[in-house]
Amino acid sequence: MARRKRRTPYQVFRAVALAVVVVSLIAPLLWMVAASFKTNVDIYDSGKAFAFTPVLDNYTKVLDQANYLQFIGNSLWVAFAATVLSLILGVPAAYSMSRFNMKKSALVVLMARVIPGVSLLVPWYYVFSNLKLVGGFTVLILSHMFVSLPLVVYILMGFFDGLPLELEESAQVDGLTPIGAFRRITLPLSAPGIATAGILSFIFSWNNFMFALVLSGADTKTLPVAIFDFVGYASIDWGGLMAASTVVTLPIMLIALFVQKYVVSGLTAGATKG
């Protein structure tokens, strides 16, 4: 579309409307970050809403006292392990389900998106605590895989559907076995799709709360669960809480911004096929 020099009324309206959208989406996040640099006294003072002296106390508190470095490590490890394992199981599965049109089998995996997590948690808790696994990393990684594996399969099935079959077939004519053609031709071609699935899997695993709430122990707590350390029964340490919330949210947002293209294509996977 050619860009005209004179703005039409619609263009003016659109600019104003989009500015309102951008401000209402970003302002609350900026408010959270601002509060994380305020003392609790300043947070309670409406006169210091915008003019305040930034302090790092909340962050030192979060990183020292609350042992957050360990929780950051836990979150990283669980999300990373769940993502890698989901890719290992999910990439071949998605390939097979796409190539051989296994609609019913795909439905089994996608059921995981539909079932309310609470209905799985009681049996999981019972079985895994009898296996002495509750409170350890194994059960956390398994439960996060339950979130990310269906995501990986869903995204990559759409991706493989769009990959031309001819390349693989000609590789087989040239002497590769079907599995060899998958490994040497299809996999390298799928790198963008695998990246998309991996990033989305990491984000959703990082943000997951309910499974970790029940299945993690004091030492294996992930960040979303650890946030609640700053919520007391009687009072809330707002500065610490906002610093903790910022520590959870900021890294994942930065990742998403750097790899925007992949995040968007992952979130909208399958949407246009109807």
Binding site: F146, Q172, P178, V263
Partner: protein, 308 residues
């Protein structure tokens, strides 16, 4: 569809390699299916079984089989169960309505290229990837009745302070607002993907025929976009029905002292993990699951009808 009659140079292959190549369809799919299946099928079967027992305090076998007594009890419970159903349906219905309408409006604004597009896309991505529990905490500060920014802004325009999350009647609408803030961008992205994949020709033809912008949207774009709208409703609807993180972060266990944000999911969680009422909680969960499946089925069968 993919042709399966691909050339098979398996003449030189022997034993395991040959078997693996011939059976790759299941070899590839089985591990993922086994994993998900194992984590679903046994728990689901057990939940159905537990819903037919009086299990309490422990999920072990001391409990007795009591048939459909739990279902009778739950379905006649006008104190906690039915209000939770109403909240779940109300939360999902209102949130979805706003998210689809607002999402459609923003997607249409973003449809044609413009300067600064990048920045708008960045803004739209941020709430989507933000950790829901942290989002809940963030809004909890903004909506705090005494120190929150929301009441300060109301004060500037001369409106008195509102209780927001703290009020018995305002808590649920406030959590719906938070859900709209976080998830409308998802609808925008999905609808935008749909809009971008539409062909320009029908729109241009209608323009040549002199149709107004609204007429073109109503009679050309919207009908073509309908399958994508249904996908958005389906994806968002399932998640909205199961909302947990934001409700737990803003109101804590039990959905507040008056259960003001206690949806079916929060109710079932409390029954299981706060009161160990496993029989009743399993019953609630089975009914909840049926509600989800039912609404999905209703939507997809409408989609199939629409496609004919």
């Amino acid at each position: 569809m993919a042709s399966l009659a691909s050339p098979q140079p398996s003449g030189e292959l022997t034993g395991w390699t040959r078997w693996a190549n011939n059976n790759r369809k299941w070899l590839f799919a089985a591990p993922a299916m086994t994993f998900v299946g194992a984590l679903i099928i046994f728990p689901l079967a057990w939940t159905i079984y537990l819903s037919l027992t009086d299990a309490e305090g422990s999920v072990r076998a001391e409990s007795e089989f009591i048939g459909f007594a739990n279902y009778l009890e739950v379905l006649s419970d006008t104190d906690r169960f039915w209000p939770a159903v109403l909240r779940t349906v109300g939360f999902t219905g209102v949130a979805l309505l706003f998210e689809i309408v607002l999402g459609m409006a923003v997607a249409l604004l973003l449809w044609r290229p413009f300067r600064g597009e990048r920045w708008v896309r960045v803004a739209i991505l941020l709430p989507l990837v933000a950790t829901p529990v942290a989002v809940g905490m963030m809004w909890r500060l903004i909506f705090d009745p005494n120190i929150g920014m929301a009441n300060q802004i109301l004060g500037w325009v001369g409106i008195g302070p509102q209780p927001w999350l703290a009020g018995q009647h305002s808590a649920l609408p406030t959590t719906i607002f938070i859900d709209i803030w976080q998830w409308t961008p998802m609808v925008v992205l999905i609808l935008l993907a749909g809009l971008t994949s539409l062909s320009n020709e029908p729109d241009e033809a209608a323009r040549v025929d002199g149709a107004s912008a609204w007429q073109r949207f109503r009679h050309v774009t919207l009908p073509l976009l309908m399958p994508t709208v249904i996908v958005a409703i389906l994806l968002r609807g399932i998640d909205a029905l199961k909302t947990f993180d934001i409700l737990y972060a803003t109101k804590g266990r039990g959905g507040g002292s008056f259960h003001e944000v206690e949806t079916l999911n929060v109710y079932a969680y409390g029954l299981s993990f706060d009161y160990n009422e496993y029989g009743i909680s399993s019953t609630v969960l089975i009914i909840f699951f049926l509600i989800i499946i039912g609404s999905m089925w209703a939507l997809t069968s409408r989609r199939k009808k629409g496609a004919q």
